[in-house]
């Protein structure tokens, strides 16, 4: 066995190529001939088994379940508290001041149809935003990449929000206010849009908070009014021009609008622009990934 398997680099001065030959080296029967061995050479990343990433994501999800829901008494039940409280307060306040909501007759259906997809966005965005920071120490394992950390949190948060929505909508529509019409297509579209936006925005937030830790606070303050500006409380069509057009730059307006078209047969939601929402998600996600790769490389060099 000689050094012939490792050609010196084009710019490599021969003086730096310091490994001497090793006539006494035993392969211990582990290697084939040198041709076999040469073809088997891979970089560490190339050598990963095909399902390694899925395995890592599953391990991160299990860990996340343990740390997020396993600690406090009641655990998983707490994720229901925010939407139930949010919808409950809105229903209580508006049902005392108004006779009927902007659409239909039930305040609970009206607010749930807007607030739940809205929460799919905010909760998942928040989860993805903290994903890389929370998995920081685990990224030192060569098998854990930042994409694994993001996807693990993303999948878990989306699943949790889907369960929360399904349970709350099930109670409202199945028991409290049964109704004939339910457009599964538009509702699914609204949730997929919310989840896509959350991934894009979450990745962008993630890298922004890594570079500028204050961004987390800025984001939470800046997005407080979103629940009003996204048509959850005020139906978008009721907002006067030109403010209505301005608000359509907010992609959540389209998410909430699409969801409402699935709950109210007569509601058309002509302003809903699905393509705009996916473009928004793709652009924020791509920009986030580009900077995240750069950040990751820099942080790996420390």
């Amino acid at each position: 066995m000689t050094m012939d398997t490792t050609p010196p680099g084009p710019a490599g001065p021969s003086g730096e190529f310091a490994a001497p030959q090793r006539p006494g080296y035993q392969t211990g029967g582990r290697d084939g001939d040198s041709l076999d061995r040469d073809t088997a050479l891979r970089t560490v990343r190339q050598r990963l088994p095909r399902l390694a990433s899925l395995r890592t994501i599953a391990a991160l999800i299990l860990r996340e379940i343990g740390t997020s829901y396993g600690r406090s008494p009641g655990g998983f039940l707490w994720v229901f508290a925010q939407p139930i409280l949010g919808i409950g307060v809105m229903v209580a306040v508006f049902s005392t001041g108004f006779r009927t909501p902007s659409l239909g007759t039930s305040f609970a259906v009206f607010f749930a149809s807007g607030f739940l997809p809205y929460m799919m966005f905010t909760a998942v965005t928040g989860s993805v935003t903290g994903s890389v920071g929370a998995a920081r120490n685990l990224l030192a394992y060569p098998r854990v990449t930042f994409m694994d950390a993001i996807l693990a949190r993303y999948f878990l948060a989306v699943m949790v929000q889907l369960v929360v929505s399904a349970v709350i909508l099930g109670v409202i529509l199945g028991i409290l206010y049964p109704q004939n019409y339910l457009g599964i297509g538009p509702i699914l579209n609204a949730y997929v849009m919310a989840a896509a936006l959350a991934l894009g925005m979450g990745i962008l937030n993630c890298v922004l908070t890594l570079y500028y830790p204050v961004w987390g606070t800025v984001w939470s303050v800046a997005t407080r009014p979103l629940v009003i500006l996204s048509g959850v409380i005020l139906l978008h069509d009721r907002i006067p021009m030109p403010y209505r057009e301005w608000l359509e730059w907010n992609p959540l307006v389209h998410v909430v609008g699409a969801s409402r078209t699935g709950f109210y047969y007569s509601y058309r939601g002509e302003y809903v622009d699905t393509v705009y929402v996916y473009m928004f998600a793709a652009i924020t996600g791509t920009v986030g990934l580009v900077f995240l790769r750069r950040y990751y490389r820099e942080s790996m060099e420390r």
Binding site: T6, P8, G9, R22, Y25, G28, V44, R55, L138, R143
Partner: protein, 229 residues
């Protein structure tokens, strides 16, 4: 076998440039235990992290025909808020081995007793090293990367660690960093000396140690790096 191909690694910090690896082309043969020598701050730990794949090289690549462990050592990848057992379970999952078996193996080996079920942030550095070493030894790798770890614990624990490590070395290779030349001589067949970004491989650990000790009588050659910035 691990092949470093045109491997360069440099840091830029506060305006100065530090070169850890300067266009290295070195092959570490299969199944050989190699002691990595070099002065403090020469970049031995960084080189291990690059070989493991947890630190990116500036240019060049690391190739291998076998599985390489994550680096065991004091600066480990343990998550401080997870317990020792949870960290073990996590590693078992990402490497796709039986979680219960590995958890049991590490519990028996690392002798952390009650601390095994406490968060790693409460551990002493020696306990972290024992946990990290235990997890690594519980997994099957073709090359183990060991950074300054056998110097922890009492004499009985050190003896047990060395015996287990020797056992693993019967069918695996290793890259081994230690400040104790006695340990190096016992554990390693071959040696490699990292000096000023150049890595020189020696078949015989004694030769490598002799070269390293000669290097240590000279001043480090940093002046050249400073000028190139």
């Amino acid at each position: 076998m691990i092949v470093l191909r045109n491997l360069t690694k440099e840091f830029r910090m506060a305006g100065t440039r530090k070169v850890v690896a300067r266009n290295l082309n070195v092959t570490f043969p299969t199944g050989v235990s190699v002691g990595l020598l070099g002065r403090n701050g020469a970049g031995k730990s960084t080189l291990l992290q690059i070989i493991a794949g947890s630190v990116a090289p500036t240019s060049g690549e690391v190739l291998s025909d076998g599985d390489i462990s994550f680096p065991v050592g004091l600066a480990t990848s343990m998550h401080p808020n997870m317990t020792g057992a949870q960290n073990t379970r996590f590693v078992a999952r990402i490497y796709g081995v039986d979680t219960d078996e590995l958890v049991e193996f590490v519990r028996d080996f690392a002798e952390l007793e009650g601390h095994y079920h406490l968060p790693v942030r409460t551990y002493s550095s020696g306990m972290r090293a024992r946990l990290s070493f235990g997890i690594n030894m519980g997994l099957k790798f073709d090359t183990y990367l060991i950074d300054e770890v056998t110097a922890t614990g009492d004499a009985a624990f050190r003896g047990k660690s060395e015996a287990l490590f020797q056992d693993r070395l019967r069918d695996s290779g290793a890259l081994f960093v230690s400040h104790s030349m006695g340990t190096m001589k016992r554990m390693c067949e071959a040696g490699a000396v990292l000096e000023n970004g150049h890595l020189t491989y020696y078949d015989d650990i004694d030769e490598a140690i002799a070269q390293h000790e000669e290097n240590m009588t000279r001043k480090p050659d940093n002046a050249a790096d400073e000028l190139q910035r």
